[in-house]
Symmetry: C2
Subunit: 256 residues, 2 copies
């Protein structure tokens, strides 16, 4: 491969393959082999390996030892933060959650698993909820979400035991309208929502569950629901691969 305006060979290789994937020349599921590409492009295998690392970080391919490197590019799932929690959306949802609609919109089949337990919350969650961080002071509703059997999101919701104890909030099924409706049933309707968002490297555990490498990135969204009198009743920490999601927000400019 010829030299080209200071752009290194592995980046040129990555650019070439990226373009091919986006144009549809390499369809999702196509298997590429490093050695073969190395020979056809006249470079060392390590150069191809490095190019694939770049493409992997962007979520375009995924290497499998012993098998080859698969093209995995998918358009992102759209998460509308505001609609998810609106009254109207809950009435519209017919018992199906927001996640369900988001995934179906792309033609995938959604699935999610829920595990409810009592746990000691992470320090930052304990601080927001104003509960002790050193006991089983919260109910944790851990959701694991999939699209066509691919894990796409982790969402761990924490509720103070003082609120959840003996209520539907500790049940394995959230019921019609979702968990937010259960809060409303208890007279703890969430009227104000805050989300704090950052991007980071996944932990090894997250990377394993979400089938990511540590070169990829996740959104970490800390979502808090507040009642009208300013009480924080639920904190949910969402972790999702950045290459799989697009986030939408919407609000009134003069509400504050």
């Amino acid at each position: 491969m010829s030299t080209n305006r200071g752009r290194s060979e592995y980046r040129q290789v990555a650019d070439t393959i990226r373009t091919a994937i986006k144009q549809g020349d390499y369809a999702r599921g196509t298997v590429l082999r490093e050695e073969e590409l190395a020979q056809s492009m006249g470079v060392d295998r390590s150069t191809i390996n490095r190019a694939f690392r770049v493409l992997t970080a962007d979520g375009l391919v995924r290497a499998r030892r012993g098998k080859g490197t698969l093209v995995t590019f998918t358009p992102p799932i759209q998460r509308n933060a505001t609609l998810r929690y609106s009254q109207a959306a809950r009435e519209r949802a017919d018992g199906r959650g927001a996640f369900d609609a988001e995934v179906r919109a792309l033609g995938f089949t959604p699935r999610s698993e829920l595990t409810v337990s009592r746990v000691t919350p992470p320090a930052n969650v304990a601080e927001i909820l104003n509960v002790a961080a050193d006991e089983n002071s919260t109910v944790k509703r851990a959701r694991r979400m999939y699209a066509d059997d691919t894990a796409v999101q982790l969402a761990d919701s924490y509720i103070p035991v003082a609120i959840a104890e003996g209520t539907a909030l500790e049940a394995d099924e959230s019921g019609p309208g979702g968990i937010v409706s259960r809060f409303a049933d208890l007279g703890l309707a969430q009227t104000r929502i805050t989300e704090s968002l950052n991007v980071r490297t996944p932990t090894p555990e997250e990377a394993s569950f979400l089938d990511m490498t540590e070169d990829q990135r996740v959104y970490e969204i800390t979502h808090t629901g507040w009642t009208a009198d300013g009480q924080p009743v639920e904190v949910c920490v969402h972790v999702m691969p950045t290459h799989l999601w697009k986030l939408d927000y919407e609000w009134s400019a003069d509400q504050n």
Copy 2:
């Protein structure tokens, strides 16, 4: 370096240095040298180089050819999307913008440059604003933002020429309360805001301006302001390094 539960050497090296930086053992500005670390840790220089690549992606260090690798870790700047556009914030601001307050909150000195021109908007912007994409159909207000002389954000705002022509919206100074107040002066108060957010690799130009490598990531935020009668009057595209920013959103649960 001994083998350790399948975690590769370069990741172990990265973990070690990451911990040292976060604990404050390597202060911001410390210069590290690959060859020196390679010898002290008993590995090849390329292994250290690869470890630094990981740390660079996280924004912890930045390599400088000919000089060494500098520790650059900084706590993130907090951007509160909702407050930026509220009436209250504009009145509080004393002529200083939201960016100004966000940067000062971290002890840095903010600075920004503004260039106003007429341009053909990007296709996605043209579509939102419902203007032609093939002429100088929009006024572009290009802001370049710095914290202590480090570039931290690019924000390109687009306004239909039909709205901006001959108004303060085409001026080089946005005036008290910022550009949003000028819209209000024209009877085009923005009452609804939408933001669509994703994460991607910076373009070579963005990487150069923001002093990033292509291993790092940027947020791309497409912000739209709408009037009460549903007219889109301004689209602003923000590009900012993910390792430098934390994003906060806030809204009423039942506004929709």
